[in-house]
């Protein structure tokens, strides 16, 4: 833990020194491929390293000039290369690990060492994406890279480059879905690694034209951007599904956290039941609604059906409201709970259709106390309201190994999508 904490600090200071452009270990580098002799993805492949370190700390926004520390963000680094090259590469740190979305998104301000090829449509016009998150949208071109993380490689991965100056005008139809998160201050990270339960970010809705197309993909000739269709294989997608092996899901392993800590270290492990280090063990499998990616949480006898989810990209456990929980919100921050003493609570999660049911014990602390120090990067007990739903954010992962199985992918417990812990 001490060593990792030191690395985290070193990483932050480097990022500050480099004006947060390339981050820790950034710059052009040569990546050595360990992807030797990988097969079709069936069976085990012990030769591939599938463990990537993650750190929960105050992230790339903590240092100057922003001085805006993150709390409960799980950060890692990825290496992206020009497709086919092993030398034109950049490693980018401060990437948020997000099981609540699918696809790799990198700030253009962090992708400085290489220029990746632009994805184009059949008329050679560039494809640009508008991706809606909860609290805003990301806008930017779809580009292609060979991505490596641990020993895994996603070849020719479509990803989104956020905030590119080449496409600085955001269509009104995009900003009508939310406010842009197109720089480090707004995004809170150098990028987002979406390793959720869906294979693509949009799915089939974006493959058809007409009024049912939600307008996430645009074709952008010089005359201006218009909504277009995008095939599943061209969509920004979960990099894990493109791995040669270990491509059916991920496990996030983080240690227990008591109260507020500066930093904690853990791992993201690729594959479920594909190697000796990623078996399900005694974890319970909770299937999730394959259309909308939710399951059910029961609290105080009330069932919040098909509306709850596990999301490492949310920085607290956001659930219900003061009416349903009896917990007061903070006087200065209505988005967090502030009980006078730490509350030990319990809820029950239920799988979507597989009959699995299990109780979850969790704590809700006083958010004012937990966040009083700007150096705090990890806080168990941080929670806030989210009327009608449970968003099991990063504190849920503390002290649990949480499995996210990808839709349609076979695992020893059956096909995804599911969560297990």
């Amino acid at each position: 833990m001490t060593r990792s904490r030191f690395e985290g600090l070193l990483c932050l200071s480097l990022a500050g020194a480099l004006a947060a452009t390339t981050g820790c270990g950034g710059g052009a580098s040569t990546s050595s491929s360990s992807n030797s002799g990988s097969g079709t993805g069936t069976g085990t492949n012990p030769s591939v390293s599938n463990v990537q370190p993650i750190t929960v700390n105050t992230g790339p926004t903590a240092g100057p000039p922003l001085n805006s520390p993150y709390i409960n963000g799980a950060f890692t680094s990825v290496t992206v290369c020009i497709p086919g090259s092993t030398t034109s590469c950049q490693t980018i740190s401060g990437i948020l690990v997000d099981t609540g979305s699918s696809g790799l998104r990198i700030l253009s301000s962090a992708l400085t060492a290489i220029s990746l090829p632009q994805q184009t449509d059949s008329n050679s016009n560039p494809i640009v994406e508008c991706l809606p998150f909860l609290d805003g949208i990301t806008w930017g071109p779809v580009e292609t890279a060979d991505m490596t993380i641990a020993g895994e490689e996603a070849k020719s991965l479509p990803l989104q480059v956020i905030g590119s100056t080449t496409f600085s005008t955001i269509p009104a139809t995009c900003t009508s879905m939310g406010t842009p998160e197109d720089d480090l201050a707004a995004l809170g990270a150098n990028g987002i690694l979406g390793v959720g339960s869906f294979a693509q970010d949009c799915g089939s809705a974006c493959t058809v034209s007409g009024g049912s197309n939600p307008g996430l993909y645009y074709t952008c000739p010089n005359s201006g951007c218009e909504v277009t269709t995008e095939s599943l294989s061209s969509q920004v997608q979960n990099p894990v599904v493109l791995f040669a092996t270990d491509n059916n899901g991920v496990i996030i392993e983080l240690p227990s956290v008591t109260g507020a800590e500066t930093s904690v270290s853990g791992s993201i492990i690729f594959g479920i039941g594909t190697q000796s280090n990623n078996g399900l063990g005694s974890a319970t499998v909770y299937t999730i609604d394959p259309n909308i990616g939710n399951f059910t949480t029961v609290f105080n006898g009330t069932s919040y059906g098909d509306a709850s989810y596990i999301d490492s990209g949310s920085n607290a456990i956001y659930f219900l409201d003061s009416n349903a929980t009896g917990l007061p919100t903070c006087t200065d921050a209505s988005y967090w709970y502030c009980p006078t003493t730490t509350q030990n609570l319990s809820a029950t999660n239920q799988g979507f259709g597989n009959g699995a049911s299990g109780s979850v014990n969790f704590v809700v602390g006083n958010a004012d106390t937990l966040t009083v120090l700007e150096t705090t990067g990890a806080a168990n007990g941080l929670a806030g309201p989210n009327s009608g739903s449970f968003d099991w954010g990063l504190p849920f992962f503390f002290g649990r190994n949480v499995y996210t199985a990808i839709e349609g992918k076979d695992t020893p417990a059956g096909a995804g999508p599911y969560w297990a812990y």
């Binding site: 709390i71 699918s102 909860l134 900003t175 939310g178 259309n291 920085n315 209505s334 739903s389």
Partner: protein, 140 residues
């Protein structure tokens, strides 16, 4: 993508007569549920989002909820409140120290957005416009 020549009409805070315009803009179907204190006008958009507009007996839209795989057109749904929403979002990002569901609680505007891509839940209301006797819990 079909583009209709309708202007953006205010929803939240707007006149109920805008509901028909909203329906046309969202290329959806309309269902009206009548109550003592308010009516609910439910629009199904072409992208699969259910938008409910709560209309007081005075004909004002005092609350809006939505549920679906994507966001609805928030400029359309929030109407004249959209700018207040947009500015509050940016302020909240830094103060909350991270990403997550949105909860804006101003004296004149409350906005909650939860979920993730393919499953969003949203709620917006103007507390000062709520008819007497209507509880916040009824807005869902």
């Amino acid at each position: 993508m079909l583009t209709l020549p309708f202007p953006l009409f205010a929803s939240l805070g707007g006149e109920a007569s805008s509901v028909e315009a909203d329906q046309a803009k969202m290329q959806g179907t309309l269902r009206i549920t009548s109550g003592d204190l308010y009516n609910i006008q439910e629009i199904q958009t072409s992208t699969g989002v259910t938008v409910k507009e709560y209309v007081s007996s005075a004909g004002k839209v005092f609350a809006v909820t939505w549920q679906g795989p994507f966001h609805p057109d928030l400029r359309q749904v929030l109407g004249s409140y959209f700018e207040e929403y947009a500015q509050a979002v940016q302020a909240q990002r830094a103060s909350r120290r991270g990403r997550g569901p949105l909860l804006i609680q101003h004296s004149g505007l409350v906005v909650q957005i939860s979920g993730h891509l393919r499953s969003f839940l949203g709620k917006a209301y103007a507390p000062q416009m709520m008819p007497a006797g209507v509880q916040v819990e009824e807005i869902r």
